[in-house]
């Protein structure tokens, strides 16, 4: 941190002071002259949306700044102002160096043109002259590994090839200050790792990068400093770890609130099944929640209503699904040879999962209750409430595996 502040003091590449941008969203959009003519006599109604409010910061030369925040927090608006796409209402932006004018890969490519034609067109949009592109042409194709496809139309490229070409071109455009919006959201994992390698190279070359992302993993790994935006305001800026922690907490609170509302709306009515599945709770450290981190302990508590007092034993089970309906894990009391009698008195049963190996996703349980010999199904809950798992890890796949390298 101390080091970063020192750098800032010497030579900022970007200096932003008191930047504000408000969008006026008209209630009725007048895109006809008639509408405009009539509305002269009416008082215009607007909803003012403060996209960014009074934001000030510096980015030092060679610094890698991450901007995180939820949807609508103003991070893209901020980046668009840095790129010159939006003109701020108030405040000042001073930039020392050539800024990459684009925020997304492949903007400006035309599907009807060949790769060759697109390189010239895209290059021109990124600030290269025809001569520049001629000099770099072979390099661009080589990096993208598309030499054989130079005269193929862009629309016939696979999405991977399209992204490769776009990425290669943007690297060769060589801006001193790079602005990027969710670049990693596109492309397959192979390409993503290529992106990451490229980030490493930018860091080594001390290029100034401003990266807007949802992905805490990337931000923590590459950024020297991170800024957290919330509702257009700068909530926190500084050390990646602590800013990302704030962000995760912010997200969890939000999830919790939404889940509570959801649960309320799902209060179930009783019928006459011998045993009925009631409310389902997810418990973390003794408290009900629906937001977990990879590696947390999760207790699944299922409330049951017993209508037939004659029942002494039963089979109860739970199956874990991801929200893409992938069956991840399932067990029941018969399989685990558990005595279920006590559950009848308690009115609920619990299954404790230690150290959950789940990754960034939403999950739910299917709950089943049947007679001990499985001859009669008492009740079945097709989908419990959803819980969310967040992960700090960059590794891939659907579950976290404990592993070591030798």
């Amino acid at each position: 941190m101390g080091n970063n502040q020192q750098k800032c003091a010497t030579a900022p590449a970007i200096r932003v002071a008191n930047l504000s941008k408000t969008f006026r969203i008209p209630h009725e959009k007048n895109s006809t002259l008639k509408g405009a003519a009539l509305s002269i006599f009416k008082k215009k109604q607007f909803t003012k949306f403060k996209a960014t409010q009074d934001i000030s910061f510096d980015v030092a030369k060679g610094e890698f700044l991450g901007i995180i925040g939820r949807n609508g927090s103003g991070k893209s608006t901020l980046l668009k102002m840095l790129a010159g796409i939006y003109v701020p209402d108030k405040g000042k932006i001073e930039i020392d160096g050539r800024v990459s004018p684009f925020l997304e890969l492949g903007v400006g490519f035309n599907p009807e043109l060949t790769a060759r034609e697109n390189i010239y067109l895209g290059g021109a949009l990124l600030g290269l002259t025809h001569k520049d592109v001629e000099e770099k042409f072979d390099g661009i194709l080589k990096f993208a590994e598309l030499e054989e496809f130079v005269d193929m139309r862009f629309k016939n490229f696979s999405s991977g090839m399209q992204v490769r070409l776009a990425f290669s071109l943007s690297i060769f455009a060589h801006a001193e200050i790079l602005l990027m919006d969710e670049v990693l959201a596109v492309g397959d994992s192979n390409f993503q790792s290529k992106c990451l390698q490229e980030f490493n190279r930018y860091k080594r070359e001390h290029r100034t990068v401003v990266l807007v992302s949802h992905d805490i993993g990337t931000v923590q790994r590459y950024c020297d400093r991170v800024m957290l935006l919330e509702k257009g305001e700068m909530l926190q800026v500084g050390d990646p770890k602590s800013v990302c922690d704030t962000y995760v907490k912010l997200n969890m609170d939000e999830w919790q609130k939404r889940m509570d509302d959801f649960t309320e709306s799902l209060e179930l009515a009783d019928t006459v099944e011998p045993i009925k599945v009631g409310r389902v709770e997810f418990i973390k450290k003794g408290e009900s929640t629906s937001a977990f981190l990879t590696g947390d302990d999760l207790v699944l508590r299922v409330y049951i209503t017993v209508n037939d007092k004659a029942i002494k034993k039963f089979n109860c089970g739970a199956s874990l699904f991801s929200d893409e309906d992938i069956y991840i894990y399932g067990t029941n009391s018969v399989l685990d040879q558990v005595d279920t009698t006590s559950y009848l008195k308690k009115g609920y049963f619990e299954i404790s999962f230690k150290n959950i190996p789940l990754k960034n996703n939403n999950y739910y349980f299917k709950i089943g209750i049947s007679s001990e010999d499985d001859s009669k199904i008492y009740d079945f809950l097709d989908m419990s409430e959803v819980f969310r798992v967040n992960s700090n890890s960059q590794t891939q796949g659907i579950i976290e595996m404990e592993h070591s390298w030798n």
Partner: protein
């Protein structure tokens, strides 16, 4: 590392060439179509005005006279229409990348202008075919064409900027250009208009000044021009061209800052 204006020129060039390529992509006859259009219109008008209304006899070299008028008018209508919607059509680009917005209408105007230049080659062929002697007046042709482009761009810049907020400008412009079509000597000759002051008034119209000028540069004689009608006041249509362009440019640049939000 880069000269800013150099970059803009490069961008205009790439966009104009791309526009030209895309215009004919996937069509079998390609560029021929843009020749066909004025050519067919020319044939129809020629037949109507030579055999039905007998206008042709009153105007020397009427076929070439007509072809020039129709070709230039075709460019004017096409370029203003294409450029008018160009900012809205490039919405994706404008929202995601920064470059001087004026590059788009300038380039799209050039795309149409390339077609006009190729059409001029066809006109030139007709002139030779009709055994009309080419005189030194042809040297003025490039000047007139540049003037024509500047005038068209001025109007189109205004239209394209306004179109972002008010789509009604589309049909309004159609009506206005229809009036212009009949108010400009495209089909007829000013020699047929008897009223001196009416002729003077009509020649103040820059379109008339340029179309008549281009006709004169091909035909050498027999064309009423603004110089011959207005005398010292022949500068008025040229001044109007400059004023039109400046207004279009100013309106466009002042509205361009908000394109990314509104488009």
């Amino acid at each position: 590392m880069l000269d800013r204006s150099n970059y803009n020129l490069s961008l205009i060039r790439e966009l104009a060439i791309t526009g030209f390529k895309l215009k004919f992509k996937g069509s079998f006859f390609g560029y021929l179509w843009s020749l066909m259009r004025p050519l067919f219109l020319f044939i129809i008008l020629y037949l109507v005005f030579t055999f039905v209304f007998k206008l042709g006899k009153a105007i020397p070299n009427y076929p070439v006279y007509l072809l020039i008028g129709v070709t230039l008018w075709g460019f004017f209508v096409e370029a203003t229409a294409v450029v008018m919607s160009s900012i809205v059509a490039s919405g994706d680009l404008i929202r995601k990348i920064y470059f001087p917005r004026i590059v788009i209408p300038v380039a799209m105007g050039l795309t149409s202008f390339i077609t006009l230049l190729l059409n001029m080659v066809v006109v030139f062929g007709f002139v030779l075919f009709s055994r009309i002697p080419i005189g030194p007046s042809i040297l003025l042709l490039p000047l007139y064409l540049v003037e024509f482009y500047v005038f068209t761009l001025g109007i189109a810049l205004f239209l394209s900027a306004v179109y972002v907020r008010f789509r009604d400008i589309g049909p309004i412009w159609e009506i206005v250009s229809q009036a212009l079509f009949y108010g400009t000597p495209i089909l007829y000759s000013l020699a047929l208009v008897n009223h001196v002051w009416l002729v003077r008034l009509m020649m103040i119209n820059p379109l008339a000044q340029m179309i008549q000028g281009i006709r004169l540069s091909f035909l050498g004689t027999g064309v009423v021009t603004s110089a011959s009608v207005l005398g010292y006041f022949a500068f008025i249509p040229v001044a109007l061209v400059i004023v039109t362009f400046l207004i279009g440019y100013t309106v466009f640049q002042s509205m361009a800052k908000k394109f990314a939000e509104e488009v």
